[in-house]
């Protein structure tokens, strides 16, 4: 039987506010345990929450970016359950009236086509603390630094049909929140985590299969792997005559499998009700307009502009707009050198390759966008040829000079375009290569094109790489053909 996979994602994004969603404590990552938890975060008796306006603004910005309706009135609810790292015995969240209503995100599939993934809603809530199960001799340590960090939970419709689509959606969300600057998107530090709802159904069937929810997957790669495993598990189960139970599962990246955490029967009754300590959040059109006016250019718009205005290929436009950092880097290179295609080639080719080799992100690139732009502009204006440019790039990468011009000067890489000098070098090479000249002369005319490469190589070598290769090619061909 042919099976279809159905996937929905709940993405938790930590918002990059300075202080927590309901208290004045800092949200900084990595501080000593329990040093960033104030009386409110500890849930001390008598303390009350006060909503952080910045968190509201960030949620709204996200909503606007995914074309959602922003709720005029949204309400915080309490989700009641006991856990050691949940100080108040409830999590303040938005169950019934979330701040961000239905919207959509466009993802690009591998075949280059686009697909819309609908967003059901997004709501604000507070993060819990962390339970630390190691280093306490069989006891559990509680670190409440994270407790109260604002989260935006973005809930998709079950619109994804493969692990790849799910990963593409997650990347699209990542790119939107980082473009907006509302999250650092750092998955390793838990700034973005997701719960994956997976089910399978026979191809052509309309009704959804029973889903399993895989909790707390924290990397793009793990999302794909967790889904791949889960899909296989569910299909096997059904084909063996069993059925999928609705349950919460955990992905174990070390064993590459998902394991049951709790079934539906064991699920908590969270007893949601409106939080009486917080007023409903009421937003007016003027406020939304104000935030709308501050939205940066978003990935989809940037991609379209790169393609339509800068003439980049769909692929280049998509790669270069994927992250805000990448796009900003590319745009600076382009701004300096003035040639979009060359800028795109260098950023994606030489630079991306070097960054990959050393496992660096673009924000940590040893070559700045300005430096690369200056280098590319020397290629564009024919000051150096491609080969020399690679040498300049390497020198800049290694910190052997501040800018391309200085390196070109000091290494003598300036391209020779003086026809007289090139002709002299060619004449010498021809004179020193009688055997090759004879071969060339005796060869079939259609083979000669390839044979010319030898002569070009010799001339370039004689010029220490500085001769203009196109020029060399042209003159050589004329001179060799004259010998026929």
């Amino acid at each position: 039987m042919q099976w279809e996979t159905v996937i929905g994602l709940e993405v938790h994004v930590q918002l990059a506010t300075r202080s927590k969603i309901f208290s004045g404590a800092s949200t900084g990552f990595g501080a000593e345990a329990n040093t960033q938890a104030c009386a409110v975060d500890l849930g001390l008796p008598g303390t009350l929450p006060v909503l952080n306006e910045q968190a509201v603004a960030m949620a709204v910005q996200f909503g606007l970016a995914v074309h959602s309706e922003i709720a005029e009135v949204s309400v915080f609810d309490r989700k009641n359950y006991f856990y050691a790292d949940l100080p108040k015995g409830y999590q303040t969240s938005q169950m019934y009236h979330p701040i961000v209503g239905p919207g959509e995100v466009e993802i690009t599939l591998e075949d280059g086509t686009n697909k819309r993934i609908r967003i059901h809603h997004a709501h604000l809530e507070e993060d819990a603390g962390k339970s630390l199960h190691e280093d306490f001799m069989g006891m559990t340590g509680i670190d409440l630094n994270r407790a109260g960090t604002p989260l935006l939970e973005i809930v998709s419709e079950p619109d994804m049909r493969s692990a790849k689509e799910a990963a593409a959606y997650l990347k699209a969300i990542h790119s939107i929140v980082t473009y907006l600057g509302i999250s650092d998107g750092n998955m390793a530090e838990g700034s973005m985590r997701c719960d994956v709802n997976v089910s399978v159904r026979p191809k052509g069937q309309e009704a959804f299969g029973t889903r399993a929810e895989i909790k707390n997957v924290n990397s793009f790669r793990f999302v794909e792997r967790a889904i791949a495993f889960e899909v296989e598990r569910q299909i096997e189960l059904i084909e063996d005559g069993g059925s999928v139970v609705q349950e919460t599962r955990l992905f174990d990246p070390e064993r590459d499998e998902t394991r049951s955490m709790r079934t539906k029967e064991e699920a908590n009754d969270y007893r949601y009700f409106p939080c009486p300590d917080l007023l409903p959040v009421v937003l007016d059109e003027a406020y939304l307009d104000h935030l709308r006016g501050q939205l940066p250019e978003l990935p989809a718009d940037k991609r379209a502009r790169f393609q339509n205005e800068l003439g980049l290929s769909a692929y280049d436009a998509s790669v270069l707009s994927a992250s805000r950092e990448m796009a900003e880097f590319f745009e600076e290179v382009h701004h300096v050198c003035g040639d979009a295609k060359q800028a795109a080639n260098w950023v994606q080719g030489e630079l991306a390759g070097a960054l990959n080799r050393e496992n660096l992100s673009i924000t940590n690139s040893p070559i700045s966008a300005r430096q690369l732009g200056e280098l590319v502009s020397r290629v564009v204006d024919d000051t150096i040829n491609g080969k020399a440019a690679k040498q300049v790039f390497q020198a800049l990468w290694n910190g052997q000079g501040d800018n391309a011009d200085a390196i070109i000067e000091s290494k003598g890489l300036k391209q020779v375009t003086d026809t007289g000098a090139i002709e002299a070098m060619i004449d010498q090479v021809i004179a020193e290569s009688p055997a090759q000249v004879a071969q060339y002369r005796d060869a079939e005319p259609d083979k000669r094109g390839k044979m010319i490469g030898y002569f070009v190589g010799q001339v370039m070598k004689a010029s220490r790489g500085t001769a203009n290769p196109q020029q060399v090619n042209g003159v050589l061909k004329a001179k060799l053909d004259a010998l026929l």
């Binding site: 500890l42 849930g43 001390l44 008598g46 009700f273």
Partner: protein, 486 residues
């Protein structure tokens, strides 16, 4: 000094008749002598009080004084106080010392008042008799076999007995007004949102409100001037200007339109209480007020609605008492669930557990709409009843409680206890202010006249109460107990 109102004591401090240190020492001595009979205090902070009093005297000498500088007060043990235990009447918090002051406490400190200590109360403010305290019941100074009312029973008894000139209470369903009535003092529950709830241990967040309990309406007005106002730390406190509540105390009452809700004079009302209240209304008529009967048709739904909403909020508010970070922790827990179960089983009393169970049930899947959602609808209807009534009249009057103080141990069945709050609970559901003023005695026990106004009408309530207290002296009468230990 014990028979003087806070207003009179403030005048004496100003004139230099005695110092704050003398005044504070006097009351501390009275507490020392008499409170073993009443049990109105959980914690007495004598040393700290004397230090505060000295500071107040020094401030006065330096000319840096407000009206209340040097006045001793007591705080219901629900207000968090830095470095002083805040138990909320519960074993759960018998070891709890907050690292901060409640906003009300901060404001009272800034006004130069002296805290003599923390008063007894029903555990987590759940109760109408003060019999639900981990620290034992409080006795009514008018009759030591009677309850003082609750949940602010310690505050009411201490003021009535002359152990302190005034105290702070909180009122979720009548917890200021009913004990004020039972103990023959004046107690004001302000409009919801008028006084900050920050640092006040929550029972039912949408109903809780702090307010003053003192000998007279004028005393309450002075205290309201200190504690009322918006607090950025409490999102439900209202950003609205605070008048000087003493400015309008003497406004004449001629033309005042009084409504008597017919539902407040029905079955179950003690005839002596009724006649005392009707006598008080006659006094108002003599002051130029007109009286008419009005109806609050949804009154009989108030108690059921309250006992859905308040326990629902309480079940959630009290989840933080889990033995993990503060409060009572059971011995040698074997795992997290054991820690929760035993810490809470040992830390909470019976009534608190009952309300947590009720609230947990009403919020449960499948019951939420039938209980919680419906109760909220009823709440809106009750609020509308009051708003409709205030279209026609300025204030409403009736008894604060259907009976005078009942005997200790008399109400064994929780529902009969809940019915005690029949006249006070709807006021919290509607969020309006209410005041109870002493209006006579029934069988030797005080009767409280309850006066209700529309939202933010505290100044009017204080004015109406004060004018009655100018015409009568019920509020100045002291129980024999107070004289005995004078």
């Amino acid at each position: 000094m014990h028979d003087k109102t806070l207003t009179q004591l403030a005048a004496s401090l100003k004139s230099g008749e005695f110092s704050s240190r003398e005044l504070t020492a006097h009351f501390l001595q009275k507490i020392e002598k008499a409170d073993s009979k009443l049990n109105s205090f959980i914690t007495v902070t004598g040393e700290q009080a004397l230090k505060q009093a000295e500071a107040a005297d020094n401030a006065r000498a330096a000319g840096e004084t407000g009206i209340l500088t040097g006045i001793p007060l007591a705080l219901k043990d629900i207000f968090c106080t830095r470095d002083v235990k805040t138990s909320c009447g519960s074993r759960m918090l018998d070891n709890f010392i907050a690292p901060y002051d409640a906003t009300v406490v901060e404001k009272l400190n800034a006004a130069g008042t002296i805290s003599l200590g923390k008063t007894n109360m029903d555990e987590f403010a759940m109760g109408s008799s003060n019999e639900n305290s981990h620290y034992g019941p409080v006795k009514n100074p008018w009759d030591l076999t009677a309850v003082p009312g609750g949940s602010s029973g310690g505050s009411a008894a201490a003021v009535a007995a002359g152990l302190v000139p005034a105290a702070m209470g909180t009122d979720t369903g009548g917890s200021i007004r009913q004990p004020a009535a039972f103990c023959g003092i004046t107690g004001l529950k302000p409009t919801y949102g008028r006084v900050s709830r920050y640092g006040m241990i929550a029972y039912a967040s949408s109903l809780d409100q702090a307010g003053p309990m003192a000998r007279s309406a004028e005393d309450c007005a002075h205290l309201m001037n200190v504690i009322a106002g918006h607090d950025v730390r409490d999102s439900t406190s209202v950003a609205r200007g605070v008048p000087d509540y003493t400015d309008t105390l003497n406004a004449p009452l001629s033309g005042l339109k009084i409504g008597l809700p017919k539902e407040y004079f029905g079955d179950g009302l003690d005839p002596d209480v009724e006649s005392a209240v009707r006598e008080a209304v006659k006094v108002y008529e003599s002051l130029g007020a007109t009286v008419r009967e009005v109806s609050l048709p949804h009154t009989h739904y108030a108690i059921p609605a309250y006992y859905v909403i308040a326990p629902a909020e309480a079940s959630s508010n009290l989840s933080r008492f889990d033995g993990v970070r503060f409060g009572h922790r059971c011995k040698d827990p074997v795992d997290l669930i054991d820690l929760y179960k035993r810490s809470r089983a040992e830390g909470f009393g019976e009534e608190v557990k009952r309300r947590i169970l009720i609230g947990t049930h009403t919020l449960s899947e499948g019951f939420f709409d039938a209980y919680y959602t419906k109760a909220q609808k009823v709440r809106r209807l009750i609020r509308q009843d009051f708003l409709d009534a205030f279209e026609d009249v300025d204030v409403l009057m009736g008894p604060a409680s259907p009976t005078p103080a009942f005997d200790l141990g008399a109400k064994k069945d929780p529902v009969s206890m809940y019915l005690q709050d029949i006249y006070t609970i709807a006021v919290n559901l509607a969020g309006i202010p209410g005041i109870s003023v002493p209006a006579g005695l029934a069988g030797g026990r005080p009767v409280g006249l309850q006066i209700l106004g529309t939202h933010f009408a505290e100044a009017q309530l204080l004015n109406v109460a004060h004018q009655y207290q100018q015409a009568t002296d019920w509020h100045l009468q002291l129980p024999a107990f107070a004289e005995e230990y004078a």
